[in-house]
């Protein structure tokens, strides 16, 4: 972790003098950056669907940060559990996929090769499939399309 600060008073030493009240339950924060999260996004979305929908409906009622703290904690914990499972079973395929994404402007369409092995590994370990919500059902999904000329 690197934070801005001064040379005589580094940002690492700056601790928030007004932390959240101790009555709130503790929740860990996700430590992944954007590429691993994008790679795991569809699996997090399918496994944590109820918690995410709860949170979005709650936010719809009111944008006040204190209104949705409990739903937010559930979302974070669910996402952490999904990431934890993926990293325990499929670490190499996961890393290959997000490193490919990192090199290609994080566009999923440019990394279908590593994605195939990654989805196969996740399906074998947990039975999760990648499903794009709202996709038309009469054709194969975009990540499962095969070229016409083979």
């Amino acid at each position: 972790m690197v934070n801005p600060g001064y040379r005589h008073f580094k940002g690492e030493d700056w601790v928030d003098p007004t932390p959240p009240p101790a009555s709130l339950p503790h929740v860990d924060e996700i430590g992944s950056t954007s590429a691993p999260l994008k790679s795991a996004s569809f699996h997090i979305g399918s496994v944590c669907k109820e918690y995410n929908e709860d949170f979005m409906l709650c936010k719809n009622e009111s944008r006040d940060p204190s209104h949705c703290l409990q739903e937010g904690r559930k979302v974070t914990r669910c996402a952490i559990s999904v990431l934890d499972k993926i990293e325990k079973e499929c670490l190499e395929e996961f890393r290959a996929h997000w490193q490919c994404l990192d090199a290609k402007n994080q566009e999923l369409g440019k990394c279908r090769g590593p994605e195939k092995t990654y989805n196969a590994c996740v399906f074998k370990a947990f039975g999760w499939t990648k499903n794009i919500p709202g996709a038309p059902t009469n054709k194969p999904q975009i990540h499962e399309r095969t070229p016409l000329t083979q």
Partner: protein, 90 residues
């Protein structure tokens, strides 16, 4: 009739200038992005995710895949202090 080789020298100079510009731009972009390709078509979501990456790893293009963030991530206040630091979308 012999080829007028002196007239090709300015063309060579122009080509060399193009190559020098291209090399300089590629060097600057590679240095800025730690050897990775430049990110393009960034919207607000992507810029804010890159700012979060900057907070977790120290650079805008650094990536880590830890499950749980270091405890300083939650209690650090330096990013609350200056609005300009938080919106550092270079």
């Amino acid at each position: 009739m012999p080829v007028p080789f002196e007239s090709f020298v300015p063309f060579g100079v122009m080509t060399a200038m193009f190559l020098a510009t291209a090399t300089g731009i590629r060097f600057a972009q590679t240095k800025r992005n730690e050897g990775k390709a430049v990110r393009y078509s960034l919207d607000d979501w992507e810029r804010k995710m890159m700012a979060r990456d900057h907070q977790l790893t120290g650079t805008m293009r650094g990536q880590v895949d830890d499950v749980i963030a270091p405890p300083q991530f939650k209690v650090n206040s330096s990013w609350k202090v200056y609005e300009s630091l938080r919106n550092d979308f270079a």
